[in-house]
């Protein structure tokens, strides 16, 4: 696999400002190299009339761990929907919304993705996440760790001790071999411990005397104090509640004055499909994506992702325990709940998004509106919050929708009139181009995660040789009209190359290397660590159900680590 030359492709590499130039990409020992004069026996891929992009990066997906597996355990119905036989090089596959671990890796690779981040890991259950990571072939992985309802966090916030909070965040990332700070319905997970929720940013979390707003701002400060590669990654309060766009915007405002410790956003707010909602109840439910996009157009400290809804089956899974119980009662659906001692909550609820059910139709529009009304393409990532909005295998559908106003019109014909009245989608003519799509499916994901300096999301010299080649000629195809061709091309890339090795061709897996796992090791001054450990030892002695010595993820579980250092000044 040592040398590979991709010749004459139309290259879209936004991080290096390359917009469709015809170029050769040279690969040596798993890295992109400048020198295209490789040895005579170099393997050559003729990419003329094809699109070449960096390997796809997904900054927010639920691919591994206790929640995902709870979904599999409660959904044999889903397992049966994606059955694929074992082949000479691949393990058998199952599932659609909750695929088995092998399918998770193969299907992402077949879609042209080479790096995927799991969006919610409770520290206590991180070992399980890494066991599943170990069984997800091909793709590189990393995980965001839940801090938003954690006792140690809330105590430090109450004491306004940001140094100790930073020490805990650093320790938690190390204990879980995690990558970044995830906050889900801050304070709500703790309130759910006694079956309650928090009602907004300034409600007080029972027994801890802090507010969600204080948790968010304090964690943002700690995050920047540690110079973590990624910003805080936030699932807002009141997600899933009509009228929640106000809370979403208010949350963004909270963080306007925080200075980022790295060259990136201060906060990433996730899956806007579920929290750019207007109205006061399900009757007058409407989209307020325009209001959220307006805010985004005036502020650059926030990035977001779509969490696009896909009609059909989904399995919702989140640390937002109270929201999931409400969902399950509303839909009379199966309900799995998983409170995590001292740390957070979680819930898993299977559901179906149905066309002409106007609430679902409006939600479908919200994600698209946010992406299309926000001018800066770098600010909105393409995701489906897999498998909450729908499974990741539907990304090509979302790409086609974003690139074609005509496709959106065709889809809208199948939906309720209320959707037209209560969203702005039918008035939006914007069509994204190939460059925008490259931003929204890889470049911006890598940038937002802070991975560009670690070889992801671009094709500059020294980057990981993760490359996707799509069977589509941008000169010949008018994406606005030929959206079906676009969708097909993105469903089956001609080549997916991972670390210089062709791992998938035309929808078939050709090699199954093991992926790496990124985690962040942040250092903090010893004095703060000492104070922290005093607190933690007490918590393990009295309140956790396991001992400190058995808590941290052992190195056996992270077989191919990439450790990114942070912390200090």
């Amino acid at each position: 696999m040592s040398e590979l030359l991709i010749k004459n492709g139309r290259v879209f590499d936004p991080i290096n400002s390359i917009n469709g130039d015809i170029m050769d990409i040279a690969i040596k020992n798993g890295k992109i190299v400048d020198d295209v004069s490789l040895s005579p026996n170099t393997k050559v891929i003729d990419a003329s009339s094809m699109i070449v992009m960096p390997g796809g990066v997904d900054a927010h997906s639920h691919i591994a761990g206790s929640k995902v597996n709870s979904g599999r355990i409660m959904r044999p119905d889903d397992g049966r929907s994606g059955i694929e036989k074992r082949t000479k090089i691949t393990r058998p596959c199952s599932g659609y919304t909750v695929p088995n671990t092998f399918a998770m890796g193969y299907r992402y690779a077949k879609l042209g993705y080479t790096t995927v981040f799991e969006a919610a890991i409770p520290i206590l259950h991180a070992r399980h996440t890494h066991e599943e990571f170990g069984d997800i072939p091909i793709i590189d992985k990393g995980g965001l760790v839940l801090f938003g309802s954690n006792w140690q966090v809330m105590e430090a916030v109450r004491e306004n001790d940001i140094e100790k909070l930073a020490a805990y965040v650093a320790w938690g990332l190390s204990a879980s071999r995690g990558y970044g700070v995830k906050i889900v319905n801050p304070g709500g997970g703790e309130a759910w411990g006694f079956g309650k929720n928090v009602s907004g940013l300034h409600d007080t979390v029972p027994n801890f005397d802090v507010t969600p707003a204080e948790i968010i701002t304090s964690l943002a400060k700690a995050n920047e104090m540690l110079h973590l590669p990624h910003s805080i990654h936030l699932h807002c309060n009141l997600l899933g509640t009509p009228g929640n766009y106000k809370t979403t915007i208010e949350t963004m405002k909270l963080l306007e004055h925080i200075k980022p410790g790295m060259d990136r956003q201060v906060v990433h707010i996730t899956h806007l499909t579920f929290n750019a909602w207007g109205g006061t109840n399900w009757g007058d439910f409407e989209s307020k994506a325009d209001a959220v996009a307006d805010y985004l157009n005036q502020h650059d400290h926030v990035t977001v992702d779509m969490g696009q809804l896909i009609f059909g089956n989904a399995t919702t899974m989140t640390a937002d325990g109270p929201m999931q119980y409400a969902n399950a009662r509303l839909l009379n659906a199966r309900w799995t709940n998983g409170d995590v001692e001292l740390e957070d909550a979680s819930g898993v609820v299977p559901l179906s998004y149905i066309r002409k059910m106007y609430i679902h139709d409006i939600m479908w529009a919200v994600g698209l509106e946010v992406a299309l009304l926000t001018r800066n393409p770098w600010q909105v990532l393409l995701t489906t919050d897999h498998p909450n909005g729908g499974p990741f295998v539907n990304y090509p559908e979302v790409i086609a929708l974003l690139m074609s106003a005509q496709k959106r019109e065709e889809e809208m014909l199948k939906l309720s009139n209320k959707m037209r009245d209560r969203t702005t989608l039918s008035g939006i003519e914007r069509e994204l181009d190939w460059y925008d799509i490259a931003i929204k499916t890889r470049a911006s994901h890598a940038k937002i995660l802070g991975l560009t300096d670690h070889g992801k999301g671009h094709l500059g010299a020294g980057a990981d040789a993760d490359v996707t080649i799509y069977h589509i000629n941008p000169d010949r195809v008018d994406a606005g009209r030929e959206h079906a061709t676009v969708k097909k091309a993105f469903e089956k890339p001609a080549y997916t190359i991972k670390d210089g090795e062709v791992v998938a061709m035309n929808g078939e897996i050709t090699a199954t290397p093991a992926g790496r796992t990124f985690w962040v090791n942040a250092s903090v001054p010893e004095e703060h660590n000492t104070r922290l450990m005093r607190d933690l030892r007490l918590k393990f002695r009295k309140y956790y159900s396991i001992n400190l010595a058995n808590y941290m993820v052992q190195d056996n579980y992270v077989k191919h680590p990439v450790v990114i250092k942070a912390g200090g000044s």
Partner: protein, 430 residues
């Protein structure tokens, strides 16, 4: 040498606070463990050597290589192999078992199918509203034990997770909590409970349904006596359930294996769901073997299902058709591999007779009833004592079991890996 924070590999409680004293590579003392756990760790009789049953019908000691060869030959020539057990070994070995199943096109099933299998079926109907055991320790002021007797089966459960210890919100421990036991007979757990409801055998479903009716405001539909229990007692229990701050419902095989089976679980899960409209309530199965939970986890993430028939080259799951006893009762199995369990002692007689008819390979540290009908026996190291590995506590928490002493025995994982190498075709994924 003293090893602290050792994890016990006996039951699904996975107590992780043991201090083990080792002298000359022998465990001489185990502190804080219950008698069951300490008994296992201090050691008892083992299988000495790999054995193959000879023509005279006697097990004869052989080399490890010969035993692995014979085992591989048996499995290679089988048309409908069954790989069964897996409850008392590591996730790493279970993972190898599933891979072996893929290669052979075998059925892979675990002891859950005769234990908490109905729990899984209930969860497939209704989901599992649960919590980690520490959450229960810190918050639960009402604990219900239904069809289980943790004092005997999980001796430290109540003192570590479900009752006696103080928690963050219950600083006086047992005094802050109410225990209720529902069972068909007086048990030790019932004897120390604040309330005991003795119900008639097989009436779990109607009693649970009545509680649901009362809690959902349909109490007038409930007759005066249900399952041998008066309506007043049921009203009293439902009041306790509604008025607690945090309730935890633990259940055992008294619920999963009595009449109505998975419907009992479905009803208990629905009751828990209903109670959350009023207060906080969670439910947790008391899983027996220390890593039976782990098999369900590993098999689900690797195949999508908690047990699997791989004869089609792809995962197939249909309990009632492809579970171990379904196959054995139909006399379909023509070779079996039993790992870390004892079906000969626990399956119905008719199943065991068919199990014994065809070649049977056993991989286990200990001799048991299955050894008596095995044709190849391969002894292995004890996970959590002689080798490390992952196990899942009954609440789904993954823990890494430690190695405490050295051993000459290979691990289950190593043996399975050797078999995999022998039965797989060159170049295939393995």
């Amino acid at each position: 040498m003293e090893i602290t924070d050792a994890i016990c590999s006996f039951c699904g409680s996975l107590c992780d606070d043991l201090t083990v004293k080792v002298e000359d590579n022998k465990i001489v003392d185990v502190r804080r463990a219950c008698r069951l756990g300490a008994g296992k760790m201090l050691g008892h009789e083992r299988i000495n050597s790999p054995m193959i049953r000879n023509e005279a019908g006697k097990l004869e000691e052989v080399s490890s290589d010969s035993a692995i060869d014979r085992a591989s030959q048996i499995l290679l020539h089988a048309k409908r192999p069954l790989l069964y057990g897996w409850a008392s070994t590591s996730c790493e070995a279970q993972s190898k078992g599933i891979l072996l199943g893929e290669i052979l096109g075998a059925v892979v099933d675990s002891t859950a199918s005769v234990c908490h299998g109905p729990t899984t079926l209930g969860v497939q109907e209704k989901g599992l509203p649960t919590a980690s055991l520490g959450q229960i320790k810190n918050r639960a002021d009402l604990i219900i034990f239904w069809g289980c007797n943790p004092i005997h089966a999980h001796p430290r459960h109540m003192s570590r997770y479900s009752g006696y210890l103080p928690g963050f919100f219950l600083d006086r421990g047992r005094q802050n909590r109410k225990f209720v036991t529902v069972d068909v007979r007086m048990t030790e757990t019932a004897a120390i409970s604040d309330e005991f409801l003795q119900i008639e055998q097989g009436s779990d479903y109607v009693v649970l349904s009545s509680l649901r009716a009362i809690i959902n405001g349909k109490g007038d539909l409930v007759p005066d006596v249900v399952g041998g229990v008066s309506k007043e007692e049921l009203m009293h229990l439902s009041d306790m359930m509604r008025s607690c701050r945090f309730g935890a419902f633990f259940f055992g095989m008294g619920l999963t294996q009595s009449k109505a089976k998975y419907k009992n679980i479905d009803c208990a899960l629905s009751l828990t769901n209903d109670l959350n409209t009023r207060t906080k309530f969670v439910i947790t199965p008391l899983r027996g073997h220390y890593n039976v939970t782990g098999f369900g986890q590993v098999c689900s993430w690797q195949t999508g299902f908690p047990a699997v028939d791989l004869s089609r080259g792809a995962p197939y799951y249909n309990p009632g058709e492809m579970s171990a006893n379904d196959l054995l009762m139909r006399d379909e199995v023509d070779a079996s591999l039993v790992v870390a369990s004892d079906p000969a002692a626990h399956f119905p007689n008719a199943s065991v007779r068919n199990l014994a008819k065809s070649p049977l390979i056993q991989i286990d540290p200990y001799a048991n009833a299955t050894t008596e009908i095995a044709d190849v026996v391969i002894p292995t190291a004890i996970v959590g004592v002689e080798t490390e590995g992952t196990a899942y506590r009954m609440d789904g928490l993954s823990l890494r079991l430690r190695k405490l002493v050295d051993s000459d025995y290979p691990s289950d994982e190593e043996i399975l890996d050797k078999i995999i190498k022998k039965v797989s075709r060159n170049g295939d994924v393995c």
